[in-house]
């Protein structure tokens, strides 16, 4: 029983950590632009496919491919925000969020048009799991975990130490005050789209590394990513990490007493409970 619980917690941490990367992107965009950008789903897919091209077509190893996934999704994110979502923002946040759903469907179909519907896999040797005292851990999962943690650390350092990061936090905390202090809100919006969607792309590829990818890769994970951001506190980056781990571990532990087909339901039931008692999420909505 102890082994089983431990195994479920480890599986939950692995799943949650990968979920945390795009969840950080979602929450960062929300903190600065104040709308839930559902186009994150298609950017995760775009990243996954960009990484596939880098890995399979260009023969690049995984880490450079992940970087390529980040860059392509980031650039697409900036371009689509500039030309599609920015005009929506004048009409209000709800309209922008709905516009982002339309955008994600459009982009998903562009991916489908270029790559087709088939499932695709990265050029990656598959390895058997390590076993310790009845617990099994996958080498690929550990690598993904290390990459995800490194990315999260890089994002924290970027926000804490760099001038641009501080400007982003300032806009997220108080846009009006940031404006008075002469921070260019438009530039910050572009940077947050770049970083946020880049993280989505990187997260999409991380998800694909462990599985296979198709044009619906991002869409499938979107609900869990959104849940992670909301549970942690939409707008809070540490919150996104805590939220992702809560959703990941919560879903896995539910298997102890319920059939696996209720996994998501239990996950979302947990979300309801968290939000009933802490309507602003576990860590609140303290920006970034």
């Amino acid at each position: 029983m102890v082994t089983e619980v431990l195994q479920l917690i480890i599986n939950g941490i692995m799943a949650g950590t990968i979920l945390a990367v795009p969840a950080i992107g979602l929450t960062a965009i929300f903190a600065v632009l104040r709308f839930a950008n559902f186009a994150l789903a298609s950017h995760a897919t775009i990243g996954a496919f960009a990484g596939l091209v880098a890995n399979v077509n260009f023969g690049l190893p995984i880490v450079p491919s992940l970087l390529f996934a980040f860059l392509v999704a980031a650039v697409v994110g900036v371009v689509t925000d500039e030309f599609v979502l920015k005009p929506f923002r004048a009409a209000g946040f709800i309209t922008t969020a709905i516009g982002s759903i339309a955008l994600t469907i459009a982009l998903e179909n562009v991916v489908r048009f270029i790559f087709g519907n088939e499932l695709r896999g990265y050029d990656l040797p598959i390895r058997r799991d390590w076993r310790f005292e009845g617990i099994r851990i996958g080498p690929q999962q550990v690598e993904n975990l290390v990459i995800a943690v490194a990315v999260m650390a890089a994002v924290f350092l970027f926000l804490m130490l760099t001038r641009i990061g501080k400007a982003m936090r300032a806009v997220a905390d108080n846009p009006m005050l940031a404006n008075i202090k002469g921070i260019n809100a438009e530039m910050v919006a572009r940077i947050v789209s770049f970083v946020g969607m880049g993280l989505a792309g990187l997260g999409g590829m991380l998800i694909g590394l462990d599985t296979t990818i198709d044009p619906l890769t991002g869409f499938r994970s979107m609900l869990s990513i959104f849940a992670a951001a909301v549970v942690g506190g939409l707008g809070s980056i540490p919150g996104a990490v805590v939220g992702a781990l809560t959703v990941g571990i919560g879903e896995e532990l539910s298997l102890l007493f319920l059939s696996p087909n209720y996994r998501s339901a239990v996950g979302f039931f947990t979300i309801l409970l968290v939000l009933i008692f802490r309507p602003r999420g576990i860590l609140g909505q303290r920006a970034l």
Binding site: N11, M14, R112, N117, P125, D210, S221, P260
Partner: protein, 401 residues
């Protein structure tokens, strides 16, 4: 005011001119004259591999029928919608086909959940539905005869699968099913048939779709120490499971439906992950003359069960409309068995059947997917199954039985 009048008059003239042009336009004439048949296949989503091929098979028959003079003196045209392998868009698309295009038939739903959602829309609006969905519950719906399926139901499929699993020596079988209408009936049937054949179902679980990992589900299954796993899901989840099983070090046998482990899926996975896995599917009737005609028509060596079933739907629909001399859902319901079974002259294509009907003969359509004889509730009465095994990342044909 007078300015307004002139502008209104001019506007009316412009509309009249446009209308006149439209009426004389050949494209519009064609649209008015064609006999429209609805197609609702999954062009995207989990069924995105089979849907487009089913569509092509139907288009090929439509082209052949049109080249031979059409149906009821009109050319047929297919109005195509994508069900996205998702009930909600599927219902919206079916409403469009029924309310806007006013088609008498919708052909092509694939996933059981989609068919279960679309079927009530069809029977309530007296539209005929043809499907490949296998869940037993589908033909048990109160569809009033407005539904046929060319796919064997779950009861029959699970029975054949259990017989096959036992025949290859598996003793301890665990079934992992995706959450779908076919999950529980399949597990129940396996637990009935396996013990009769010297094997047993030692456990089963139902999992959710769209998960990025199934490690915990696999752990749960392997704790029961099975020597064989029945993976009853769709391609996205079965692919993840195959990887997770390899990582977990499971070396026993695995069986899954062919739609969950396609040749494209094999390409996406390292060969060691799929080595030795069995696949099964309802087979086309590869010895039948209708199958030979389908091979020629589609220009491929080995049309699969879905392509042949799609061939049979549109053929059955065309022949029934010709028999009834009326293109309505109710006419299809009331007449389909008059051309699909019985003692009439055997025909193997829509064009052959149309010719025979024009000569006043009774016909019995024998399809590329099988005899196409239907029970009162719309199930087929018999069907063959094809078994394959993966060796070195490629499918090796085992048998059709």
């Amino acid at each position: 005011m007078s300015g307004n009048t002139i502008s209104r008059r001019r506007a009316l003239q412009a509309i009249a001119a446009a209308a006149g042009t439209a009426v004389s336009a050949p494209a519009i004439l064609r649209a008015q004259d064609t006999l429209q048949l609805g197609v609702l296949t999954p062009l995207t989503g989990a069924g995105g591999f089979d849907g487009p091929r089913m569509l092509k098979a139907m288009q090929a028959v439509a082209t052949e029928v049109n080249a031979a003079g059409g149906l009821l003196g009109r050319q047929i045209s297919l109005i195509i919608e994508d069900d996205q392998t998702n009930p909600e868009p599927a219902v919206r698309a079916s409403r469009k086909l029924i309310d806007v295009s006013k088609v008498p038939v919708i052909m092509g739903t694939w996933a059981s959940a989609v068919t279960s959602a679309v079927a009530p829309v069809c029977w309530e609006s007296k539209t005929f539905l043809t499907t490949v969905s296998g869940a037993d519950s589908i033909t048990l719906l109160p569809h009033q005869g407005y539904l046929i399926r060319t796919q064997p139901n779950n009861h029959l499929q699970a029975q054949k699968h259990a017989e096959f699993i036992a025949s290859i020596g598996a003793k301890r079988v665990f079934c992992l099913s995706i959450q779908a209408p076919f999950a529980v009936p399949t597990q129940n049937r396996l637990s009935e048939v396996l013990p009769q054949k010297g094997s047993q179902l030692i456990g089963s679980l139902i999992y959710e779709k769209d998960k990025t990992t199934y490690r915990s589900e696999i752990d749960q299954a392997l704790r029961a120490k099975p020597d064989f796993l029945y993976l009853n899901g769709y391609a996205p989840d079965v692919t993840v499971m195959m990887r997770d099983l390899y990582r977990a070090g499971f070396d026993g046998g695995r069986l899954t439906q062919s739609y969950a482990l396609t040749s494209k899926v094999l390409e996406s996975l390292p060969p060691e992950v799929t080595e030795g896995a069995y696949t099964t599917q309802p087979s086309a009737d590869i010895d039948s003359p209708a199958f030979a005609r389908a091979v020629k028509r589609l220009g491929i060596d080995d049309p699969d069960s879905y392509e042949t079933q799609a061939t049979d739907w549109i053929s059955l629909v065309c022949l029934t409309i010709a028999k009834a001399k009326e293109a309505t859902g109710t006419a299809l319901r009331d007449n389909v068995r008059k051309i699909s079974q019985g003692s009439g002259m055997k025909v193997y294509t829509a064009v052959e059947g149309l010719k025979a009907l024009a000569e006043g003969k009774e016909i019995n359509y024998e399809g590329a997917s099988g005899p196409c004889d239907f029970t009162d509730i719309g199930d087929i009465q018999d069907c063959k199954f094809r078994y394959q095994q993966v060796a070195g990342g490629k499918f090796k044909f085992l048998k059709v039985a």
